[in-house]
Amino acid sequence: MSVSAPEVPAKPARGMRIDFKTVGPLLALVLLVLLGISLNENFLSYNNITNVLARSSFIGIIAIGATFVITAGGLDLSVGSMAAVVAGVMIIVMNALIPSMGVSVGVVLIGMLAGLAVGGAAGIGNGLMVTRGRIEAFIVTLGTMGIFRSLVTFLADGGTLSLNFNVADLYRPVYYNGILGVPWPIIVFALVAIGGEIVMRRTAFGRYCAAIGSSEQVSRYSSINVDNVRLITYIVQGILVGVAVLLYVPRLGSASSTTGVLWELEAIAAVIIGGTTLKGGYGRIWGTVVGVIILGLIGNILNLQSFISPYLNGAFQGVIIILAVLLQRGRRAA
């Protein structure tokens, strides 16, 4: 039997249409790169590129976690403060182990494990309050943001926690060295990004995140354990904060109450620039990676020129961010 309608039997279409939603962030990135090249001949130099990517990697790794949280309809404002606490705890743990273990790789490894554990635990805390406690994610993580921030101030005694100089020397290569000239932070960032993309696209968990963010009810009626999936997104976020801090601590070997300030906003901004919807339901990791690099390049370009007054740095940043999102709209309104 036939239904007379301008619709035809569904043909599974494989080919992806090139549209602005996909190309938008890439376009913004290309424009920024061109701007950078025109401003400074060293922009594309090996050193500059590795510098920008390596220092973007912390936000990048955190933003990949945030992509999952946001795709599943959640939000985590506590990541910046959480990073500071993780850094603080790692430094305290490593300093405390020196008397018994001496300056050894073991100390660094235990410190790293402690960092991952603290991040994971913080994620579990956030996730449980959101899923079991039924409290708005915004409120929960706003609360923990304050808690973590004062916790690090308390741990640092209002000042700065510094890693023992000798351990710092041992740990330092984790930020500054790498394989074949690619620094470790970039390698880890790339691995996390590839892993994230696979999980988002090719696993049931990724699909469930999008489904829950799209409609919690539909997901529940489709036999998805909504609470567990949400909880896992927060735990993943916490652990990735831990991973990011593993790379951050060796850079300066210190943590203070200013560590990680506003990282949460940078991470969320990167996620949204990359095309993930803030209210959930659609997320893409590669977009987030592009978003992070865009944010990193903005800061870099501002430092590489001298005709924009440093007083206007924030304005330039704002314009680029809005532009990047605007490009995704493309000419849809036509």
Binding site: M1, V3, A5, A10, R207, S214, S215, R220, S223
Partner: protein, 513 residues
């Protein structure tokens, strides 16, 4: 093309040779349409026939590609975005356009709030809202939140809103799709009161009997063409259906195969209580279609949700093939072979922003894993299978399912439910808001499933549907089992007697027939 009643009366709203294309695709071809004061003019046609586009043009939401609109004798260009309301043309959408968290009074005055010195006059608005609701004989508290109202009451609020705007033309897109029989009658009384005051009503419905009952004239559309505009007294439901489909529409319901009285009981529910459900007991046999009839809000959905683990049961037992089960999560019931297909396909059934494939496989995603990763080829095969089996039509598989017609959404949801290969399927309003052609397809699918040995619980507010398909009918009233009918007892009047509480009990011995 005649209206014997009063063809002398000049139409208030008329469309002349209206055509409309979206991009390259024409959807309306040179349509003439008019409605007179005090008249109900129904528009009917299959999904995709162009009904929605026509009323969008009549209310100014879309502009015609060619042709003219005449309002009150003047050729006009209707303003977009619902501003035609100010001129007295009000469209009530199928998905009611109410903000769920506003109060009834706020909703009625939304966009034209009464103000003094820039401040809202809440008291005055409440008073006037109550007045309007009173004239409509609607018993709704002006301070109630829209969220707390039944769908029927929400619709009444929409009508009150229209009246408060002094509507001269009221256009209603399938207002009865989600109403029970009683509620439909209340709505019709309301519409008759409005037409008595000279309001012109344009009315879209899939329900032929309603149109016969309410409308003076009917316009039939098919494939964007005007087939006919005829006075209802010259028509029968059959002749309308024939015009719609363009062919003889026989056998809307497939023949019932005889139920096998010796077939084993696959699902047995005893003394089940849950929120909105009181002491329900029934049996379902292999290969049986058990209808659940009752008024909207009578607790049929609550029973289904308590059985599959979407709601906590407070008391009672459920046995599946003789083994007691207590599902607390949907995943468990799906694994055990019971699937529930929700009536709320937009809110609970489908992810409207996603394509066909992720929707189809969402319930059974675990089956498409290979070494822990999703196997898109396997999903693709499932989609191809379902598209063929359920005749799902879409421009391409990546189109967001929110943009499919209701019928195709319903068929996709059926495909999704059947992906779990259930032995027992609970279908909640499986044909709500879809056209006759697709309804017939779905009826045949349901009958075929039963013939294959699947057991089906069919929850429906369309009595004809329950009667036409079910082997037995359980009538639910206020969360309780009012009675179970079978064989010759399955008739409209008898069901209504139980549903309305006139008749009760009686057949309890047959509950576990």
């Amino acid at each position: 093309m005649s209206d014997p009643q009063d063809s002398a009366v000049r139409p208030i709203l008329a469309a002349h040779r209206i055509s409309k294309s979206f991009g390259e695709i024409p959807v309306l071809f040179s349509i003439d349409f008019d409605v007179r004061p005090g008249e109900v003019h129904a528009i009917i046609g299959e999904n995709g026939a162009g009904k929605s586009t026509l009323i969008k043009i009549l209310s100014g939401i879309e502009q015609p590609t060619s042709g003219t609109i005449e309002y009150d004798g003047q050729t006009v260009t209707l303003p977009p975005n619902g501003q035609a309301e100010a001129m007295g043309i009000v469209l009530i959408h199928q998905e009611l356009n109410l903000a769920e968290d506003l109060t009834v009074a706020d909703s009625i005055f939304l966009g034209r709030e009464l103000k003094r010195y820039g401040f809202l006059q809440s008291g005055e608005m409440r008073r006037r809202a109550a007045e309007i609701l009173d004239t409509l004989h609607v018993h709704v508290d002006p301070d109630a939140r829209i969220r707390s109202l039944s769908i029927a009451d929400k619709q009444m609020v929409e009508i009150a809103k229209a009246i408060s705007r002094d509507a001269r033309v009221l256009i209603m897109d399938e207002p009865t799709a989600v109403l029970s029989v009683g509620e439909t009658q209340t709505l019709f009384d309301q519409i008759r009161r409005l037409t008595a005051r000279g309001v012109a009503v344009v009315f879209i419905s899939h329900k032929l009997d309603e149109i016969m009952q309410l409308a003076q004239r009917v316009t039939v559309l098919r494939d964007g063409q005007l087939i006919a505009t005829v006075g209802t007294e010259a028509l029968t439901p059959d002749s309308i259906a024939q015009m719609m489909v363009g062919r003889e529409l026989s056998n809307l319901y497939p023949p019932k195969h005889e139920p096998d009285v010796d077939a084993p009981v696959v699902l047995s529910v005893r003394h089940l209580s849950a929120p909105g459900v009181h002491d329900i007991s029934f049996d379902l046999r292999k290969g049986e279609i058990l209808g659940f009839a009752g008024l909207i809000g009578s607790g049929r959905t609550a029973i289904a949700e308590a059985v599959v683990g979407l709601a906590r049961r407070s008391e009672g037992e459920v046995e599946l093939e003789g083994k007691p089960v207590n599902f607390t999560r949907v995943a468990q019931s799906v694994d055990a072979g019971i699937a529930y297909m929700t009536k709320d396909r937009k809110g609970k059934g489908l992810l409207l922003n996603m394509g066909l494939r992720p929707n189809l496989t969402l319930l059974t995603l675990k089956r498409h894993l290979r070494m822990g990763f999703l196997d898109s080829a396997s999903e693709e095969r499932a989609l191809e299978r379902s598209v063929r089996r359920f005749d799902i039509r879409a421009r391409d598989a990546s189109v967001a399912v929110g943009r499919l017609s209701g019928g195709n959404q319903q068929k996709l949801m059926l495909g999704k439910t059947m992906e779990s290969e259930p032995d027992i399927i609970i279908m909640d309003e499986p044909t709500r808001g879809i056209d006759v052609g697709t309804k017939q397809q779905i009826y045949h699918i349901i009958a075929a499933l039963a013939a294959e040995g699947k057991s089906i619980i069919l929850i429906s507010s369309e009595l004809q549907e329950v009667i036409g398909l079910s082997h037995r009918v359980a009538v639910i009233r206020t969360g309780r089992l009012a009675g179970v009918l079978e064989g010759a007892e399955i008739a409209e009047e008898e069901i209504m007697r139980y549903a309305a509480g006139i008749k009760q009990g009686g057949h309890n011995e047959r509950i576990s027939a």
